[in-house]
Structure formats: structure tokens, C-alpha cells
């Protein structure tokens, strides 16, 4: 019983981590049809922002939840102005340009801070569940994933910005005829996505080492989750994270971490073969 509970909790944590890692990428992809391959490096910047800010004496929570998303959001604004804006509608070119950005960020950051692993310790201590102990931070991550999903849902569903954004996403021309400037909607969306990426990096910083190359560990997972999920931002991310996270965590339990990840990637390929438009290309099509 305890074991089942512990495994269940670990699966939830795995799913939550995938949601956190993918959400920023999903927002940008779902709204703008732009795949930001520098997403992992945006996370890396968020993690560094959090580590530096907490090292400078700020409370870790402020550093993670405020400094990181704001800093990376601002960086996203610059990237949108200088780069993404020139490439709208050229999906493959955007992918390649952001890939270049990702390499340049890894290189630049390595020159700035060196290629050594730094990090922060996880706050919140530990919790006993039956005979098992688990990190309180794992539970916090599950909560954070739920809160982030609810936040994105509420923003899209209830705010004026969400309405405008959804309208622009469905039909940019009509939206523009109705007096919305698609440019500004896109810019805002990209900034929001970047901020989410930065937040994700900061949230994961206590779990893994913070190093300029850390983005590579996440980008593939995020990318595959978002593509497998399909165009609907929330429904896609949640369904794909749920499926892939479960497969990967159970695989890790039953065999090794590597085979867990291999199983997850294999499931993603089979899914894409069966549903070439992603999960939400077939089901939950009208979902957000």
C-alpha cells in the first residue's frame, strides 16, 4: 500500500514536472505556431536568475516566483522584437533561428559564468507518507503545476486579453479588422511564454544542477510533449504530460531511468504516427 502510494506520488511529480517544463513552449506554439527551440535556454536563464537573486540575499521564493519570470519575460520581449518578429509565418525558419539562439545562449552563458554546476537546495524539508519519506518540494511542484494550469486557463477564459488572444489565434485578419493589433498580441504572448519558461527553470533549479547546458535536458522532453499534445494549449499539454509522464515514471520504476525515457519517446513516436496532428488534433479539439 505504501509502495503504491509512493509510486503514485512519483508519477504525479513526473507529470507535474512535464507540465511545468512544457507550458511556456505550449503557449507560444498554441497561439503563434512558433516553436521556440531556445525554450530550454530560457529555462536555464530563469534558473540562473533565481540562483543569482537568492545568492544576492533575496528570499528563495521571491527569487523563483518573481525575479526569474520577470527577467526572462523581459528577455523574451527583446528576442521577439529583434528576431521572432521577422520570421512570423515561417515555422521552419523560426525553429532554426531559435535553435541558433539556443546555441548562442549556451555559449554566451558559458563564457560569462563558466561551465560549472551550481545550485540551490530544495526548501520545505521532507514529508512522511506511510513508511516513505519524500521531499516537500515534490509536493510543492505538483501544486505549482496545478496552479499554473489553472492560471493559464483563467487568463485565456476570463480576461479580455485571453479573449483577444484566442480571437487572434483563430483568425488574425478578422481580429485585426476588429481593431486588434495582432503584432502586439503576438508580442505579449511570446513574453508570457518566455516568463513561463523562466519560471519553470527556476522551479526546477533546486532539483537539478544549474549549468549553462541544462536546457538540452529539457528541450527535447518539452518539445515532444507539446507536439504530441497538439495545438490546444492546456488540453494538449495536460493530456500529453499525463500520458508521457506516467509512462516515463513507471518505466523508471520498473527498469532504469534510461529505459523510462526511451519508453516515453517511443510512445510519443507511435502516437504521432497514429495522430499526426497530436492528441488534441483528434480529441478535445474544442478545448483550450
Amino acid at each position: 500500500m505504501d509502495l503504491a502510494l509512493a509510486v503514485g506520488l512519483q508519477v504525479l511529480t513526473g507529470v507535474a514536472m512535464l507540465v511545468i517544463v512544457s507550458l511556456g513552449l505550449a503557449v507560444v506554439f498554441g497561439m503563434m505556431r512558433v516553436i521556440n527551440l531556445a525554450h530550454g535556454e530560457f529555462m536555464m536563464l530563469g534558473a540562473f536568475a533565481a540562483v543569482l537573486a537568492s545568492g544576492a540575499g533575496l528570499s528563495l521564493w521571491v527569487a523563483m516566483l518573481v525575479v526569474a519570470p520577470v527577467a526572462v519575460g523581459l528577455f523574451g520581449l527583446v528576442v521577439e522584437r529583434l528576431l521572432i518578429r521577422r520570421l512570423y509565418g515561417r515555422m521552419v525558419d523560426t525553429m532554426l533561428a531559435t535553435w541558433g539562439l539556443s546555441l548562442a545562449l549556451v555559449g554566451g552563458m558559458t563564457m560569462l559564468v563558466g561551465n560549472s554546476v551550481s545550485g540551490v537546495s530544495a526548501p520545505l524539508g521532507s514529508v512522511a507518507i506511510g513508511g516513505f519519506r519524500t521531499s516537500g518540494y515534490d509536493l510543492f511542484l505538483i501544486g505549482a503545476a496545478v496552479a499554473l494550469s489553472l492560471g493559464v486557463w483563467a487568463a485565456l477564459r476570463f480576461t479580455r486579453w485571453g479573449l483577444v488572444a484566442r480571437g487572434t489565434m483563430q483568425d488574425a485578419e478578422t481580429a485585426s479588422a476588429l481593431g486588434v493589433a495582432p503584432d502586439r498580441v503576438y508580442a505579449a504572448t511570446f513574453v508570457a511564454g518566455a516568463a513561463l519558461s523562466g519560471l519553470a527553470g527556476a522551479l526546477l533549479a533546486p532539483l537539478s544542477g544549474v549549468v549553462p547546458t541544462m536546457g538540452a535536458a529539457y528541450i527535447a522532453r518539452a518539445f515532444i510533449t507539446v507536439i504530441t499534445g497538439g495545438a490546444a494549449i492546456l488540453a494538449g499539454t495536460l493530456s500529453a504530460s499525463g500520458l508521457l509522464g506516467t509512462v516515463s515514471t513507471l518505466g523508471t520504476f520498473l527498469s532504469t531511468p534510461v529505459l523510462g525515457e526511451v519508453a516515453m519517446l517511443a510512445v510519443a513516436i507511435v502516437l504521432l504516427r497514429l495522430l499526426p496532428r497530436g492528441i488534441t488534433g483528434r480529441v478535445f479539439r474544442r478545448a483550450l
Partner: protein, 412 residues
């Protein structure tokens, strides 16, 4: 961390500067003796590589200040393979065919050693491997000056069994070092009346150990023995402490402290983890204290923490090679090998190190220590431990053509 990297980059010109001074003193027209070092000073293994390069730089500078070798200055060329195995091969080829180095001191992981060892053998370039490893290399062109399982695991596991209990859980890095070391752990555990409940392997890029930590708890071991390697795996100790298991299940490691991992862990995360190496910076001997004083005088505020043996073995390995050259009166590879096989030893900060002619391994002092507030506290010292594991399978005097790594048959 940033300053540390830049410092190391600045250090290279510093040693280069020392050379012309010596050249002026030595006879004109004497070419410098080229020594190549290949160690990762970036990437996941930099926690080992940076102190190793600092020690090699220091050893060369010290030698040049004392007048060089055979009246010639020593020129050190450092390459950074960035924790990438293929760059190791590339740099080893470069060292042998372009730099024509007299000796190559290189390699941290066993994977890197097995990548460069064949290259240097093919191009007839002498090779020194200066880290603790899983033992068994039998190659006349290579000298392994670090400690091996018969020297360190053999001390660590009995200590764990007698202090904490008989049921062990092993977590290890997923490459030849972890695979073979975990067998040695199993062997010594059996011999001591204990059992290994399970062995889990993790590739070097794994950072999330959540599931593994739950698996360990489900097995309820008396102690965990870790052979995890590199910066990413430091996450294991962090997550272990975050899950509150630090006080519940004690831990020993064959690798922690090889580099500066202990610095990356807060006292709450690290304290009490037990390790065994042939050197700790905290070893309390006059020779070590004098060395550390000189070392600090040279590097000042940027002195790296040496931790366990990897950095000190690099210093010692260089001294052993220099002694071989002095005895051979030449840098010619075969003559130096023969000189090194004539029973060379070095008395230094790590105590006495004696090269074993038959195995090209070293007899060393071994210490058992536990992590204490980002450093180590030495618990016990075992003087002059021979490399008996490699000696049981390798005799280069009888088979000088040997060129393999014997995976010592651990009967499980």
C-alpha cells in the same frame, strides 16, 4: 565558479612565463621538454578537472623554478576536452603526433582513459593516468598512479558493514567505472557477511533521482553506497537530503570528494558521508602542511580545494615521471619506462608512493574519512596498501606486450 575557470585560463600563461627564465639559466639551445595534460575543466566533470589541472600546473612550475629536468625547461600544454570523450581522442592524437609530447598526463573518467590509452600506445607516447579507478589496466605504456578497489573499496565496505549493517544498496554511474566498481562493492560486501540488495545505474546526464530514491526506500537498506560521478550526480545527495533520508539511512561513497563535490553540498546535505581515498587535503602530516602552504602562496585567494586524491595524484604522478626521466637521463619513452620499472618512489604530501614494476600501479597510503562541513575529517589511515587487485591478473614483467584492461573476475 566563474572566477575559478578564468583563473585556470590565466594560469597557463603564468607557467609559460616561468619557462624563459629557466631557459636563460639552462644551456642555450635546449628545447623544452613537452608535457601534455588533458583534463576536463568544463562540462560535468570540471569538479574533478579544475583542481587536477591546478596541481599539474603547480608541479611543472615548481620543477622549472628548481632548474627544470635534465637541464631543460618543461613546457606544459593543457587541453580541455569539455567532458566530451571524442575530444579526448582528438587531443591525444594531437599530443602524440603534433606536439610530440614526452609524456601525457590525462584522463579523469575510465571512459576517457580507455579512449586515449590505445591512441597513445599506437603512437608510442608515454601515458600517466592519475585518478582512482576500478583497476585492471595492464599496459606497459601506461602508468596508473591512483588507488584501486583493493585499496579503497576494500577499506570502505568493511567499515560500512561493521558500523551501519549488512544490507547495502548501491547506486553507480552507468559506464565502466560504475559497472566494475559496483561488482567490487558486491564482492567485499559478501566477504564481510553482508548483502547487496540492488544496484542501480545512472547515465552521467541524469539529474532527477526522485524515482530512484523511492525505490531505495522500498528496499529498506542499512546503508547506501554510491559510485556516482560528476556534477549532475551531486543532485542525488541533494535530493536524498531533501527527502529527509539523510538521518534515516547512512551513506558511503567511492567517488564523493574525488573532486570538490563536498564543497557543493551544504553541511546538512553532506556531513557524515564516508569515503576512502589515498589522500585528503585534511591529512595531518608535516609534508602535506608544507605543500599546502606553498600551494596557497602560489594561488592566493584562488587556491582550489583539493578534496580527495585526484588532484594530489596528478601532482604525484608528475613527480614519479620526472624521477623516471632523471634516472633514465633521457626522455626517450622506452628508457623512461625501464627506469620507472626499476622501483621508483616519491615521498610527498600524500605520503610515500611506490610504483609497482609488474603492474605499473602504485602502493599508497589509504585514508578513511567523513564529510564534515564542506571538507573532510580523517577517521583512520591504512599505510602502504599494495594494488593487489591488478597484481592478481597482470604481470608486465612476464607479458610486456599486454594491452588490456582485465575486468577482475569478481565471483558473485
Amino acid at each position: 565558479m566563474a572566477t575559478e575557470r578564468r583563473r585556470l585560463l590565466k594560469l597557463a600563461p603564468a607557467t609559460a612565463l616561468a619557462a624563459p627564465v629557466v631557459m636563460a639559466r639552462a644551456a642555450l639551445g635546449n628545447d623544452p621538454i613537452k608535457v601534455v595534460g588533458i583534463h576536463d575543466t568544463s562540462g560535468g566533470l570540471d569538479i574533478y578537472g579544475q583542481p587536477m589541472v591546478a596541481c599539474l600546473d603547480y608541479a611543472v612550475a615548481e620543477l622549472n623554478e628548481a632548474g627544470g629536468l635534465l637541464g631543460r625547461p618543461v613546457q606544459l600544454i593543457n587541453y580541455d576536452p569539455q567532458s566530451n570523450i571524442q575530444l579526448y581522442t582528438q587531443f591525444a592524437t594531437q599530443a602524440a603526433t603534433r606536439d610530440r609530447a614526452a609524456v601525457v598526463h590525462a584522463g579523469i573518467t575510465s571512459a576517457s582513459r580507455e579512449a586515449i590509452r590505445p591512441v597513445l600506445r599506437r603512437y608510442n607516447t608515454l601515458y600517466f593516468y592519475n585518478t582512482q579507478y576500478e583497476g585492471g589496466v595492464c599496459d606497459r605504456n601506461a602508468f596508473c598512479t591512483g588507488s584501486t578497489p583493493a585499496q579503497n573499496v576494500n577499506k570502505l565496505v568493511p567499515h560500512v558493514l561493521s558500523t551501519w549493517g549488512k544490507r547495502l544498496y548501491v547506486v553507480a554511474a552507468d559506464y565502466n567505472y560504475g559497472q566494475i566498481t559496483s561488482k567490487w562493492i558486491t564482492k567485499y560486501a559478501r566477504e564481510g557477511g553482508g548483502e547487496v540488495l540492488a544496484v542501480d545505474f545512472f547515465p552521467l546526464d541524469v539529474t532527477d533521482f526522485g524515482a530512484a530514491i523511492k525505490k531505495i526506500q522500498a528496499a529498506r537498506p542499512d546503508a547506501v553506497v554510491s559510485a556516482l560521478v560528476g556534477g549532475n550526480h551531486v543532485g542525488f545527495y541533494r535530493q536524498w537530503a531533501a527527502a529527509g533520508l539523510k538521518s534515516a539511512i547512512p551513506m558511503a561513497s567511492t567517488t564523493l570528494g574525488g573532486g570538490n563535490e563536498s564543497l557543493l553540498l551544504t553541511p546538512e546535505e553532506g556531513n557524515g558521508i564516508v569515503c576512502a581515498f589515498s589522500y585528503f587535503q585534511e591529512v595531518d602530516t608535516p609534508a602535506n602542511k608544507a605543500f599546502l602552504q606553498r600551494f596557497r602562496a602560489k594561488f592566493g585567494a584562488r587556491t582550489p580545494y583539493l578534496g580527495g586524491e585526484l588532484a594530489m595524484r596528478t601532482y604525484t604522478g608528475f613527480q614519479l615521471w620526472a624521477e623516471g626521466v632523471r634516472r633514465a637521463r633521457t626522455t626517450d619513452r622506452m628508457k623512461v619506462i625501464e627506469a620507472l620499472e626499476s622501483g621508483v618512489s616519491h615521498d610527498g604530501p600524500a605520503g610515500r608512493t611506490v610504483l609497482d614494476p609488474k603492474t605499473h600501479h602504485a602502493t599508497v597510503d589509504v585514508h578513511l574519512a567523513q564529510v564534515a562541513d564542506r571538507g573532510f575529517k580523517v577517521l583512520q589511515t591504512f599505510p602502504q596498501q599494495p594494488p593487489s587487485d591488478t597484481a592478481s591478473v597482470c604481470d608486465l614483467a612476464a607479458n610486456p606486450g599486454s594491452n588490456t584492461q582485465h575486468v577482475v573476475d569478481v565471483r558473485i
